[in-house]
């Protein structure tokens, strides 16, 4: 009918769908799922880096890291707000996260073992996020696209900070260089896995492409990321832990070893090193804060009642 024709026309014209516009149920559900997962990833993603705030090795790095983790909380808030425009409340989404019924990016189920991991997360994980997210700035759903523009700007700032951390370490003492290389060794394949399963196995991709939520396939984005990293790694003076990484003249791209997708599946299913820890941390913070949220609610109600009394 007409609503659907309008929707299709907007998508075809590469224009934006806005909250009040009609949209197919599948489109709405797909977006909710994706935006919620993205929001959850920002919130859970605060933990691995938050782990180093108290121990950051200089006051400047401490300030930068604290600001970064704060930005992630902010990104979470934008994204929940974007999801709310689709008619689902933030509380509902948070409950789904706490109940383990919605996912977040599996990369955050790996531990941050050293300070260099903060650098590696910035460089590789934020780097991969940006490659994933830049196309989302042109996503067909307006509120999501606009949130992504703001987020991508901050993410690229974060990525540069991570790169700088690694650069300083890689050009520092021998122990610092070892620390940096060790972090890259541990984060490289999980970062490649951030782009999801190979295109052949990707379930949601085709429909998302049609709807212009997604614009490139998992493998296209992964290749783009690899090509970007190879060059940067050589400036850093660090090795990417892939002996088969080499320039392919024909493809005009780097050949590389695929990440272990079986491991990715295990981690997604809950058996990564930190899945239980991340969920327990989030649940504990939520549970321990319950009395505070209840107090704020009770206070707001009392205040409203007082206002009404004054007005009456």
């Amino acid at each position: 009918d007409e609503l659907r024709r309008y929707f299709d026309a907007v998508i075809d014209a590469d224009q934006k769908i806005e909250p009040r516009d009609w949209m197919p149920t599948g489109y709405r559900q797909s977006l909710i799922r994706q935006i919620a997962q993205h929001a959850h990833s920002e919130i859970i993603g605060m933990q691995p880096e938050g782990n180093w705030i108290s121990r950051a090795p200089s006051l400047q790095r401490k300030a930068i890291l604290l600001a970064k983790v704060q930005d992630e909380a902010g990104h979470g808030l934008y994204l929940y707000a974007a999801a709310e425009t689709l008619g689902v409340s933030r509380d509902t989404l948070v409950e789904l996260l706490l109940a383990g019924r919605q996912k977040y990016s599996s990369i955050f189920n790996y531990p941050t073992l050293t300070w260099a991991d903060v650098g590696a997360i910035g460089w590789l994980v934020d780097g991969a996020a940006i490659v994933n997210q830049v196309p989302l700035c042109r996503c067909s759903y307006g509120p999501y696209a606009r949130a992504m523009i703001r987020i991508c700007k901050e993410e690229s700032f974060h990525q540069r900070q991570g790169y700088e951390i690694l650069h300083t370490l890689a050009h520092g003492t021998p122990e610092q260089k070892v620390m940096a290389q060790d972090a890259v060794d541990r984060w490289w394949y999980p970062s490649l896995a951030m782009f999801g399963p190979p295109d052949a196995d990707s379930t949601h991709s085709q429909q998302s492409m049609t709807w212009r939520i997604k614009r490139f396939s998992n493998d296209e984005l992964r290749q783009r990321f690899v090509d970007m990293c190879v060059q940067q790694a050589s400036v850093l003076g660090l090795d990417l832990p892939d002996p088969d990484l080499r320039w392919n003249e024909q493809r005009q791209a780097y050949d590389y070893t695929q990440p272990d997708y079986d491991e990715l599946m295990r981690v997604i299913k809950g058996d990564g090193p930190c899945n239980r820890q991340r969920a327990a941390h989030r649940r504990a913070a939520h549970a321990e804060g319950a009395w505070v949220r209840e107090a704020a609610q009770a206070y707001a109600e009392k205040q409203a009642a007082r206002m009404r009394e004054v007005a009456a």
Binding site: S58, L66, Q70, E288, G289, V292, A295, A296
Partner: protein, 234 residues
């Protein structure tokens, strides 16, 4: 009498230790907005600490920069008041500490912003605005908790009772600030239906480096990485 350098270290250490405690709330606070707000306050405190410690290091003239002062002193050399180092047993204790600290820092920075030392005055002029925001934030939560549910009222009262004795030390150097401080704080507590504790026990010693047993644990964690790599750049 404390010297100008002592005063800078005292202010800087207050801010640094407060930032360290506040930073630990990030990912742990009762709501996401509060993660953002507390990180903001921690960043303000950290920013002030850096300016103050850098200045202190230059005044001292022994080649110590902000990091040398932050990472390479033991608890016996830290000059912060005990208030800021107390463990944040719960959200109410953290808010009580922030309320008392911010009300004090606002007055202290106000005075310093009008003082003779131009560099310190500039630092203080920035910090006084931040303190006003911290005070607002703490006052808002004191009201919400104090005048919220029965549970939150009890916890807020217990927190204020627990922290109150440590507020006396804030006024060791400038006792005349206590009166205006009391005026602010008593208003906030009254508005929050929280009883203002009686004065009595007044622990101190922080300005002379005699701290609680908690500070050395806080510093052990804060300094571990820096100390493990002597002379490294970060």
């Amino acid at each position: 009498m404390s010297t100008h350098l002592d005063r800078l270290l005292a202010l800087g250490d207050d801010a640094l230790v407060a930032a360290q405690r506040l930073g630990q709330w990030c990912t742990r606070s009762p709501e996401m907005e509060e993660d953002v707000a507390l990180a903001n306050i921690a960043l303000d405190q950290l920013g002030a600490a850096r300016l103050l410690l850098s200045y202190a290091g230059e005044l001292e003239g022994a080649g110590r920069d902000e990091d040398a002062l932050a990472y390479l002193r033991s608890d016996r050399e830290f000059r912060n008041v005990l208030l800021v180092e107390l463990a944040d047993r719960d959200f109410a204790v953290m808010i009580a500490k922030l309320l008392f600290l911010a009300a004090y820092q606002r007055l202290r920075y106000q005075r310093l912003a009008a003082g003779e030392d131009a560099r310190l005055a500039a630092i203080a002029a920035k910090a006084v605005k931040e303190s006003a925001y911290h005070l607002d934030h703490a006052a808002m939560w004191t009201a919400r908790l104090g005048d919220g549910t029965d549970v939150s009222h009890e916890r807020m009262q217990a927190a204020v009772d627990e922290v109150w004795p440590y507020t006396h030390e804030l006024f060791e150097d400038e006792p005349d600030l206590r009166l205006p401080w009391l005026s602010t704080v008593e208003d906030v507590l009254a508005g929050a239906t929280v009883r203002r504790p009686a004065d009595g026990w007044a622990p101190g010693g922080g300005r002379d480096g005699r701290h609680t047993e908690q500070l050395s644990y806080l510093l052990a964690e804060m300094q571990v990485l820096h100390r493990a790599h002597p002379g490294a750049r970060w």
